[in-house]
């Protein structure tokens, strides 16, 4: 089955220690998204790639960066994680940015900060 796969499912890091979360897709979709979801809240979009074009949300902290080396993979880098960055991180894809295009989500990576 075509899928969005996130690794690892659970990640523990230390305060201030850089961490990278990964996402891969077999859907061959043009758009890949990263969301942050805190407990009992809706997902919050951090940024997205439309093909190689990176689009950052205005309120995404500089501490968060992303890379998309090819169509299938996208990475979320947190340069200096703080306690407030503990959350579920969700990767999603869509075929295009058209208004009728649903997004397909991975199962997320739950990040804990010690």
């Amino acid at each position: 089955d075509a899928m969005v796969i996130q690794n690892p499912r659970y990640q523990v890091t230390q305060f201030g220690k850089p961490v990278t979360l990964s996402c891969s897709q077999t859907l061959n979709h043009n758009v890949m998204y990263w969301y942050q979801q805190k407990s009992s809240q809706a997902p919050k979009l951090l940024f997205h790639y439309y093909d190689k074009d990176f689009n950052n949300e205005a309120d995404t902290p500089d501490n968060f960066q992303s890379r998309r080396p090819n169509t299938s993979f996208c990475f979320l880098d947190i340069r200096s994680p703080g306690l407030g960055d503990a959350a579920m991180y969700l990767c999603a894809t869509s075929r295009s940015r058209g208004g009728n295009q649903p997004q397909h989500f991975g199962d997320g990576t739950r990040l804990s900060i010690l």
Binding site: Q6, S40, P43, A92, S96, Q101, P102, Q103, D107
Partner: protein
């Protein structure tokens, strides 16, 4: 700007009884609308989508939703709840002209009692 309001933060039903999760939208035109479900420690799964074709939309797992323009509503229903339906449900609308930004409702936590 498009927005959605989920009228209930928590809904509790007994197994085998009907489910009603309420969503109202605000839009200057007939938008696309989605319902997503999120089980604990999982990503979001698309239940169904409305894209201005039929007003009654059938989704997966026996769920359906009816788009009512006169009431600006897109309520999610299921005739008979199953224990596996216990999850968080999000009503979602894309932002104007693009699926780049999804506007999420605040979510409804569905509890199914035995």
């Amino acid at each position: 700007a498009q927005s959605v309001t989920q009228l209930d933060s928590h809904v509790s039903v007994s197994e085998g009884t009907p489910v009603l999760l309420r969503c109202n939208y605000s839009s200057s035109y007939s938008p696309s609308l989605f319902w997503y479900v999120q089980h604990p420690n999982k990503g979001l799964q698309l239940l169904l989508k409305y894209t201005s074709a039929a007003t009654l939309v059938k989704g997966i797992n026996g769920f359906e939703a009816e788009f009512k323009k006169s009431e600006t509503s897109f309520h999610l229903t299921k005739p008979s709840a199953h224990m596996s339906d216990a999850a968080e449900y999000f009503c979602v609308v894309p932002s104007s002209g693009s699926a780049r930004q999804l506007t999420f409702g605040s979510g409804t936590q569905l509890t199914v009692l035995p």
